[in-house]
């Protein structure tokens, strides 16, 4: 269980990026986080990963506080962030350096096969397309069989077709050993396709959590899917709307 208690992050310049978030994500759950630009989505993920320390509150994994990056937590960033001087296979092996060479080779081969990239194991990152590179980043995060996988807008830089394919593929990969996933995205369709629950982050007012009761696999053209998309879009618009619309006088419309 991933638990966040009154989690806040205030930067030295005074900006409050994350404000007192309480959250519990069950093992194997796919938890989506959406919100407007600058609402603190990525900061939230960095706090969960241990890359940043909270100003207040705690992050705990199975009751153990997360104070720094941990082996059980894998991260996929917005960009692939592959080491350009390493081959694809060596990039995937980057996070399992503690294993023996034979075990490392076997794990890398297996994971590359799972993401469908065995054929490019010996290539350089520069030789891959954006979609392939992001798959390698996924493989690198998954090769250590993390209990929690954090995804920070992992497909946002890709074209719509590739993005949809990778979303489906991510679900295939998740089904393999069902890690807990926290997915930050600005793409509401992506959140609806993937997530069991969706947190709509709002700056300056309480966040809202939605639970789309859609059967899996989710059909992007299904009427109920489209209805949920409309609801989520509405929530997102409300989260970004001027305070006058929300009835919140602390945030005058002119300031937004």
């Amino acid at each position: 269980m991933l638990t966040l208690r009154r989690l806040s992050k205030r930067y030295p310049n005074g900006h409050l990026a994350v404000n007192a978030i309480d959250l519990a994500v069950a093992p194997g759950e796919i938890f989506g986080v959406v919100g407007g630009s600058g609402c603190g989505k990525s900061t939230l993920l960095r706090l969960i990963s241990g890359l940043e320390q909270p100003s207040e509150g705690t992050v705990a994994l199975s009751g153990t506080p997360v104070l720094a990056p941990r082996q059980e937590v894998g991260v996929v960033f917005q960009e692939p962030r592959l080491m350009p001087w390493l081959s694809i296979a060596d990039n995937v092996a980057f996070g399992i350096r503690h294993l023996s060479p034979a075990e490392r080779r076997a794990r890398v081969a297996e994971t590359l096969a799972r993401v469908g990239l065995s054929a490019v194991a010996d290539h350089w990152p520069r030789e891959l397309s954006g979609g392939m590179a992001q798959r390698v980043a996924l493989a690198r995060a998954l090769v250590g069989t993390p209990r929690v996988l954090l995804l920070d807008e992992p497909f946002s830089a890709l074209d719509a077709m590739t993005r949809a394919d990778l979303q489906d593929h991510l679900l295939d990969l998740w089904a393999y050993d069902r890690p807990t996933m926290v997915l930050v995205t600005h793409d509401i369709e992506e959140a609806l396709v993937l997530a069991d629950r969706i947190l709509v982050m709002r700056q300056g007012s309480p966040n809202v959590t939605l639970t789309p009761d859609l059967p899996r696999p989710r059909d992007r053209t299904d009427l109920s899917f489209l209805e949920w998309k409309r609801r989520l879009l509405l929530e997102l618009h409300r989260s970004m709307a001027p305070a006058a619309v929300r009835g919140d006088e602390r945030f005058p419309a002119a300031a937004i």
Partner: protein, 282 residues
């Protein structure tokens, strides 16, 4: 040969690279010609013709034929190899120590803000001291024999490597460092497995610059009381009024400098195949 595409479990085909890594870049035929020889050969032949036609006397600037004759004589007597060997040894040792110190110093000040604040201002101040200013001090400290010469060369090699590596580490993409942090790399692993490889292109350029300075500093080193070496040959040619000996020594310096630089460039090329430069074949 790699397949043109690869297919995932979901049946999605992905474009695979269409060129094997390490394949030679496409280019024009003239790119394979040693065009760099045109200028020195043209100048040499031109000067040779001017002296042969009597348009110049060639006393102070002897034509290439006289320099070649001098070199052949030096080679036959065995003196040339003695001088080359002595100079090569000094450059090799000075380069080795300069590289070791420059790499350690650059990595330390690049990685550690504390080390940077402690050492960098002093090292930057020392960097601006002309090489020749060290000579009397090194003779006093280390004597007139090999130690002072090797240290002087090492000082020359140290600074470009220190400076380039320290600056390159500071420029390493924060995002790559974060990936290593996610995988809980120790500071030593971070330097060895992320920072140094990421700075390799700058480091190789710094090694070449350092080697070039090593060849420059060996002349200054051999001016300070050497009895053998190409620098000694230079001084000897000047003292005995033989400009052909001076020029022969300069020519050997140029050839050795170019050859060692070429070896270094070729030896490090395989570590830079991953680079995605504008001339990299796709």
């Amino acid at each position: 040969m790699e397949p043109a595409s690869t297919t995932t479990a979901a049946g999605v085909a992905w474009d695979a690279p269409d060129q094997a890594p390490g394949a030679p870049p496409p280019g024009h035929r003239w790119q394979r010609w040693p065009l760099g020889l045109l200028l020195p050969l043209g100048l040499g032949l031109g000067w040779e013709a001017l002296v042969a036609c009597g348009l110049a006397n060639g006393h102070l600037l002897p034509p290439p034929s006289r320099i070649v004759v001098t070199l052949v004589a030096l080679a036959r007597s065995g003196d040339l190899w003695l001088h080359i060997w002595a100079t090569l040894q000094r450059v090799a040792l000075g380069f080795l120590f300069g590289v070791l110190a420059g790499t350690a110093g650059g990595a330390l000040t690049g990685y550690s803000p504390l080390a940077r604040r402690l050492f960098d201002p002093t090292l930057q101040a020392l960097r601006s001291i002309p090489s020749i200013a060290w000579v009397p001090l090194f003779i006093l400290w280390f004597g007139i024999f090999e130690t002072s010469k090797v240290i002087l060369i090492a000082v020359g090699v140290f600074f470009p490597i220190y400076l380039a590596l320290s600056a390159a580490i500071l420029d390493v993409d924060r995002k790559l460092v974060e990936v290593a942090r996610i995988f809980r790399f120790s500071p030593l692993e971070m330097v060895w497995r992320v920072l140094l490889p990421a700075t390799l292109p700058s480091y190789v350029t710094a090694l070449r610059a350092g080697l070039g300075l090593g060849w420059m500093f060996v002349v200054a080193a051999e001016f300070m009381g050497a009895s053998e070496g190409l620098g000694f040959l230079l001084v000897d040619g000047q003292m005995t009024g033989r400009p052909q000996t001076v020029l022969a020594s300069i020519a050997v310096f140029a050839l050795l400098g170019k050859a060692t630089d070429g070896l270094l460039a070729a030896g490090t090329q395989r570590f830079l195949r991953w680079q995605d430069g504008f001339r990299t074949p796709r």
